[in-house]
Symmetry: C2
Subunit: 177 residues, 2 copies
């Protein structure tokens, strides 16, 4: 596998999903990939709620498409919620840093792995930043104190065209010494 950069270029936010169900096996592979992400002290401070039964997917979409935001959530064929869990650090680190010091970054890596594996299998993903969290938590039985790291909608892209990514120019971002 020598073309990760090509995969990175192809992965893009999908805002138009086809009316085609997503196979359970493909979702399981996305979770398997996310589970392999690196984490500080290998603490793996994550858990996953996969929403895939059509009834629950419809109800979850109602928690995401709200106030005119995220209308395409209604087309998603599955969702995954990635939750932050307690990170057990190694004793020599735990005496210096809060248990969750690395967790947010670790969870960002896990979400990225999930979406990259989805793209690798021909699935589109969309991370939602704003949604009705109390309503979604109640629907999915997620304890109120839990931190949500990511909510990702999944489906087959209705439009396979790869868009050119808009990124800041490299010379604004990088310095070599």
């Amino acid at each position: 596998m020598n073309d990760f950069l090509e995969l990175a270029k192809r992965r893009q936010t999908c805002r138009e999903f086809a009316d085609r169900p997503v196979e359970h096996e493909k979702l399981a592979k996305c979770v398997e990939a996310a589970r392999l992400a690196p984490s500080g002290c290998n603490a793996q401070p994550w858990s996953f709620v996969v929403v895939e039964s059509p009834d629950m997917v419809g109800k979850a979409a109602e928690c995401v498409a709200m106030n005119g935001m995220n209308p395409y959530a209604a087309q998603a064929k599955a969702f995954v919620v990635i939750l932050e869990e307690h990170a057990k650090l190694m004793p020599q680190i735990a005496c210096m840093l809060d248990s969750q010091y690395f967790a947010k970054g670790d969870l960002g890596a896990a979400a990225a792995y999930f979406c990259l594996e989805a793209e690798s299998q021909g699935l589109g993903t969309c991370q939602f930043g704003i949604y009705d969290r109390p309503k979604l938590g109640q629907l999915l039985g997620i304890p109120e104190h839990k931190q949500y790291a990511a909510l990702i909608g999944i489906g087959y892209p209705a439009n396979p065209e790869v868009r050119i990514k808009q990124r800041k120019p490299l010379d604004q971002l990088v310095r070599s010494v």
Copy 2:
């Protein structure tokens, strides 16, 4: 590119680097991949300091290998520091959330992309969590107020053997509804 899961299995923390220099072009590709990571509102809240001149790499290693920790840092042939930058969110999001609300997760994704592209090119990486940050910041001219998202050591692995990853069992981590 249909085998991301294989790449995810192969990517591992490298704690033994070969005495072989790392090509500038390969480091540039890692940064290019990291730049393509997704971010909330596409805010790209990151910048990169690539340490690759042998003199600076040696001095940076002294900031990382300290008090008996991270002894293998001395073998790294390059480092990259990923810094958190201000995230400019879309107005309709910015009125609800702090500018840096998504940043830590975004930076975790960028660091993951960096390390995956490194693996894809045959390079090994190691993320360091503990190091002498004031000394490193002074060496590299990083302003004191900056948040460090990742410090990654890079080199060719001295031992190409892929270890079995230790991960919590899936049934502890995943729930499907």
